[in-house]
Amino acid sequence: MTDRSRRIPIRYVLFGLVLLVAVGFEFVGDPTPREQIWDEVLFFGVWGFLGCLVLSLLAKGIVSPGLDRPEDYYAPEEARHDWSTESPVTAPPARRNGEG
């Protein structure tokens, strides 16, 4: 009798198969002449893996610390267009049968 808790989830098995197929394509078909860097073995695997890390680092490590602001950063500016308060901007009619 198999211990169910020790089984590998099917999604991991499928994902492993996808990776195997991805690597397996290197050995299928005519070999590509090595003219460019992307003709190297497993280049796209490495590029995909590193690309994901580099973009995450670029976003979270460089852009985010410098440019993150609270969600209400522009609230004072937007409040000027709030027709529920005193404002020279004319308000459109209230919502009817519309959607949010």
Binding site: F49, C52, R80, V89, R96, G98
Partner: protein, 581 residues
């Protein structure tokens, strides 16, 4: 069947008629225009034209060729799907705005001259702005104003370029331009609508604020119509290629960071349009085919993604990933419907997107420097990371966020028509992935790219497989935060406080002062008119009554006398000027 009628006219005509139809039938009647357009396009032969004479100019509201047809078909298809998605909607103003918007987009695509193009270009701006305002929240109202200001600015630049072009060449024909004075102005006008960096900030500002159905139409129409105009007007310019590459990487970087689901998708539009713009800039038949095919599949994919995220907002009322999570138990079908366009847009094999973006990149491999190709592959990884992995992972999986301890998320039922539209579009992507010839036969040039070659399958499997592996390693670090990221919009939103203080307030102040003076003057003159005799005799009005009003001495001027005096004065002036001079 319909002769040489511009397809956009079906939409505009229906927009004029729709408000007079019975209220319950309007949402269904909306579908008539795209259906008629598709029937018309199926019989419209390449080379068909229609001309109208306006003063000394010959306008060409219909010019059918293969490039225009790629966009004409997909814009009609997506308006039909958008109409199905919005069948539950009872807001006539949104339906009319969407029809005008879609009709104008088709008007731009089939315009053979720059005047017709500009006319429809501006209607598109107002139609789409209404789809933001229709949400009727203060934030949407402000975003709609910013959107229309930005697009009116872009329209003014475009008009300047058109007039300059006309003055220099004497022609209004919409053909490929040179990058000289007028060409640069026209390019900037097109770039703004294509959300080219740094003219792109409006897209991430406006699309998350639009109505659920409005954002679906907006994601499909404005930027993709601009892609068409760039493909027609500026193929083969290196500067266009580099702008496209920058857009592709820039867009995904912000998409990875964004918290609002529709903001993720909006930034991702910048990236995907970047691929198309880069393909146009490279300018070979191969990459122009790739850009056109990518526009076709991307319009479908992006609309479906906006539909799926819109359905989540409809069900939960929440659009920020920092306040979602754990939705798979509640909305499993929607997850799978979302994943079809999400995988397709990541160029997964056997889906529509696999036919198009790899074609552009493959074309780039033969025609440009390796750095462009590598950056495009990097942006492609970013697509998978932001839209294919991060958004669904933190929306449908992970622990629910934004709820009190022990609170269960309530989910409102999603209308059947929303599921139907996303399902139909998803089926279309699977169909294209398995049978590519309906798309490839539509493209402007003969297709030499075979997506199912071993090397293309290898690229796709390796990029997707190993990028997913990397995501699984770092997923916890990508958890969405309740933050926004400053972008180029800061340059016009932050100084707006100063503009408000130094420009708007003084102008409003003048109006307020003028109004106050008018009221004071009226208040002073009323007693004079009420009792002019006392004023003449004593220089002041007569005694007041107990109620506070000026008591008349009986010499009050009647209205008849006033009119007679005015008429007499007018007659004297007329007599003086006309007869005596």
């Amino acid at each position: 069947m319909f002769g040489s009628i511009p397809p956009g006219l079906f939409f505009v005509a229906l927009a004029l008629v729709l408000p007079f139809l019975p209220r319950q039938s309007r949402a269904w009647a909306f579908l008539v225009a795209p259906v008629l357009s598709l029937v018309h396009l199926s019989g419209l032969e390449t080379g068909t034209t229609a001309t109208w004479q306006l003063a000394t100019f010959e306008l060409e509201p219909l010019r059918v060729d293969r490039l225009a047809n790629v966009f004409g078909w997909i814009l009609s298809i997506i308006t039909l799907l958008g109409g199905i998605f919005a069948l539950h909607l009872k807001d006539t103003s949104q339906q009319v705005a969407a029809l005008l918007y879609a009709g104008s987009a088709l008007g731009v695509v089939y315009a053979g001259d720059l005047f017709t193009l500009f006319f429809f270009w501006e209607i598109m701006a107002f139609g789409s702005a209404w789809l933001i305002w229709a949400r009727r929240t203060p934030e949407a109202y402000a975003a709609g104003l910013r959107y229309i200001y930005v697009h009116l600015f872009g329209g003014a630049v475009l008009l300047g370029g058109i007039l300059w072009q006309m003055a220099e060449t004497g022609s209004l024909r919409f053909e490929a331009f040179d990058l000289d004075g007028p060409g640069i102005l026209i390019l900037v006008g097109f770039f703004l609508n294509a959300a080219a960096v740094p003219l792109h900030a409006w897209i991430a500002d406006a699309y998350p604020r639009a109505t659920i159905t409005g954002a679906v139409f907006m994601s499909a129409l404005t930027s993709k119509t601009a892609v068409y105009t760039l493909a027609r007007g500026f193929p083969g310019w290196e500067v266009v290629m580099w702008v496209g590459v920058i857009m592709a990487v820039y867009g995904v970087t912000y998409a990875i960071l964004s918290n609002d689901m529709r903001r993720v998708l909006a930034y991702h539009i910048v990236s995907q349009v970047g691929f198309m713009v880069a393909g146009i800039g490279i300018g070979t038949e191969y990459t122009l085919n790739g850009a056109s095919a990518h526009a076709f599949t991307n319009i479908l994919e992006k609309s479906l993604l906006f539909m799926a995220t819109g359905a989540i907002i409809h069900a939960t009322g929440v659009s920020r990933m920092s306040h979602l999570g754990g939705l798979y138990k509640k909305l499993p079908v929607l997850f799978w419907l979302y994943m079809i366009p999400a995988l397709s847009i990541s160029s997964a094999p056997f889906l529509g997107g696999f036919l198009s973006k790899p074609m552009t990149i493959s074309g780039a491999e033969y025609a440009t420097v390796p750095s462009v190709v590598l950056l495009m592959h990097l942006a492609s990884v970013g697509t998978l990371l932001s839209v294919g992995l991060k958004l669904p992972y933190f929306t449908w999986f992970t622990k629910p966020r934004g709820l009190a301890e022990g609170e269960e998320r309530t989910v409102a039922p999603i209308p059947w028509n929303m599921y139907a539209a996303i399902g139909l579009g998803g089926a279309g992507l699977i169909f294209l992935g398995l049978w590519r010839w309906p798309l490839y036969n539509l493209l402007p040039y003969e297709v030499v790219f075979d997506p199912y070659e071993t090397k293309n399958l290898k690229k796709a499997f390796q990029l997707i497989g190993f990028a997913t592996l990397a995501f699984l390693v770092i997923a916890a670090r990508l958890k969405p935060k309740p933050k926004i990221q400053l972008d180029f919009e800061w340059f016009y939103r932050a100084p707006s406080a100063l503009v408000w203080k130094w420009v708007v307030h003084p102008v409003v102040g003048v109006f307020v002062w003028a109004e106050r003076v008018s009221w004071e003057l009226a208040r002073a003159l009323v007693p004079v008119g009420f009792d002019p005799v006392s004023v003449i005799r004593s220089g002041r009005p007569g005694p007041t009554s107990p109620s506070g009003e000026t008591a008349s001495t009986g010499f009050r001027v009647t209205m008849t006398a006033m009119v007679m005096i005015a008429a007499l004065a007018f007659a004297i002036i007329l007599f003086w000027f006309v007869l005596l001079r």
